[in-house]
Symmetry: C2
Subunit: 329 residues, 2 copies
């Protein structure tokens, strides 16, 4: 048994909320969003404040979908890509619920959901977990000033303007959070911040294998195995690493799901909000209805900073895994 | 009962390790450190890499003190002040244990220890939790280039070069982790990044009151109630807010403990490593010997970023509380 995997008997996912920006709202998951923000500023004065507003909307939406208000949540677990998690923390200043900030780059959502599950596993509690990212706030921080209008490379991902949150509680519901595997940091030596799929694929494979062994399952026990944000490039590498038709048959990728190929996003979507919105808006409804019975999500994160990149460091990556299952009484 | 407080019956703190830089090693806690790094670079080529090395040393030290090796830890929980938690994540690339990155500014250590407790509360597991900060890496990121040699204001804190970690496991030991209260974000409207004590004192008081109510205790049930990094200024404000001689009698502050007044640190120590080193090096040994039976630590964090500050935002703050108790069979 892996002691880095926690299996839950009694953690229900009772609410979900997904939202995206204008570009995401024109993509294939348009119908999956509970809300689309056509205004880049979401009514605020800065992109960072807009991202905090997105966080509040997502957390409130998930709590409402669970039949409560955010004010009734005992704990909020969340994170984002901005330095010092400012959107998560400035959102917490508004909603005023006890908040745990977490960071695993674009794997943050799975870490948040897993820890919310841990919180709800013992004791009658309500938790809301989520993640959010704003394309314009994130890009100017990580890469170049937006106004520079630089040419993106073919392997570059598009940081999504998106948010997603889940409401969890102890007990049973239509969807159960069954397990959570904490990822190890894996660094294949790639140093190109415009190619995060290559950097992250080995971490995804490491965590997926560890999860499978821990819960004693096979790939065909799952209706889908989603990775987060590997995109076209990273998904190809992952399937090569797996070298297993059984895995390839069930594999899908959140980054590949968020946009159509003609939306000029190259490798696909990324950003903390990408996996969050795809899980909350696309995956959750299908598990709720039983269309998919058992789904794995291995959210992947590229753990570089502008400083580490400028110092010539390669890009370490991590993947945290959550397992969702339709409840059969 | 507060559902934002978790009380533990069976979580033991079995190991601890504290370390500091040259300045910290000349302070009043010199004898409390398991290691003093006289070299600013800790043998590495950048301050950021030095901070990652500090993290590895602290995590390994705590595991060894607990009687295992870091390789036997099931989960590592940690965080730092650097953008995208690069020191925590680059340390995880070296030690390769499953890692949860957390961020609550200088309250990070208490969040990490609380979550490690949550992980160990159910199931036979080993966790190591810690936090670390490097003065030179943090200062150039948050304020001015070090070479600028700017004049610090009288209310400014000194970001410590320090690291601390605890090893936790399910069961009983000389010291038990008894409870963990998740903090709410409180913003008193202060906007001066050179005066974090003023920004953080109300959050400390909010979390301490909530913790006390949740565990049904009184101030004189504790031998000490430590706040993290309020320093001289913030400790004064906190004691004014408390307006209770019973609280003032047991209150102490990690930021005030780390340096002597003549060490030119003004308000006192701060940084994610400050509380971590004071808890691991100064508090833990006293609880182990029973000199102190029951101790609260409310680690405080100022949740600003250079971006939020430059956008004219005030500084929200949070305090997470952990309760340590000597074990009586």
């Amino acid at each position: 048994m892996s002691r880095s995997t926690r299996q839950f008997e009694q953690v229900a996912v009772v609410g979900h909320f997904a939202a995206g920006g204008a570009r995401e709202g024109q993509g294939p998951l348009a119908a999956a969003f509970d809300q689309v923000w056509d205004d880049d500023l979401v009514g605020e004065t800065t992109w960072e404040a807009a991202e905090a507003k997105m966080a509040v909307d997502a957390l409130e939406g998930a709590a409402h979908d669970g039949g409560w208000s955010l004010g009734e949540a005992d704990v909020v677990v969340g994170g984002d890509l901005l330095d010092q998690l400012v959107s998560t923390n400035f959102a917490a200043r508004q909603h005023h619920r006890p908040t745990l900030g977490v960071f695993a780059a674009c794997a943050t959502f799975a870490e948040a959901v897993g820890l919310a599950g841990l919180w709800c596993d013992r004791g009658s509690t309500r938790a809301v977990a989520g993640a959010w990212s704003h394309h314009l706030a994130v890009e100017r921080q990580f890469r170049f000033p937006i106004e520079f209008g630089y040419q993106r490379t073919p392997t570059a991902s598009w940081t999504a303007t998106a948010a997603g949150a889940l409401a969890l509680t102890q007990g049973t519901g239509a969807v159960q959070l069954r397990a959570f595997t904490v990822g190890r940091v894996v660094d294949p030596g790639s140093a190109d911040p415009m190619d995060m799929g290559t950097a992250m694929a080995p971490a995804a494979w490491d965590s997926l294998q560890r999860h499978l062994a821990a819960v004693k399952a096979r790939w065909d026990d799952y209706d889908r195995v989603f990775t987060g944000d590997l995109g076209v490039v990273g998904s190809g590498i992952l399937c090569d690493l797996a070298n297993d038709p059984g895995f390839v048959r069930v594999h899908d990728d959140c980054g590949r799901s968020l946009y159509r190929p003609d939306q000029d996003v190259h490798n696909g979507g990324s950003g903390t909000g990408c996996v969050a919105a795809v899980v909350a808006g696309h995956i959750m409804p299908r598990v709720e209805t039983g269309e998919w019975h058992r789904v794995l999500v291995a959210a992947t994160g590229a753990l570089f900073s502008p400083t580490s990149y400028q110092q010539g460091e390669s890009i370490p990556a991590v993947a945290h895994v959550i397992e969702l299952e339709a409840y059969r009484p």
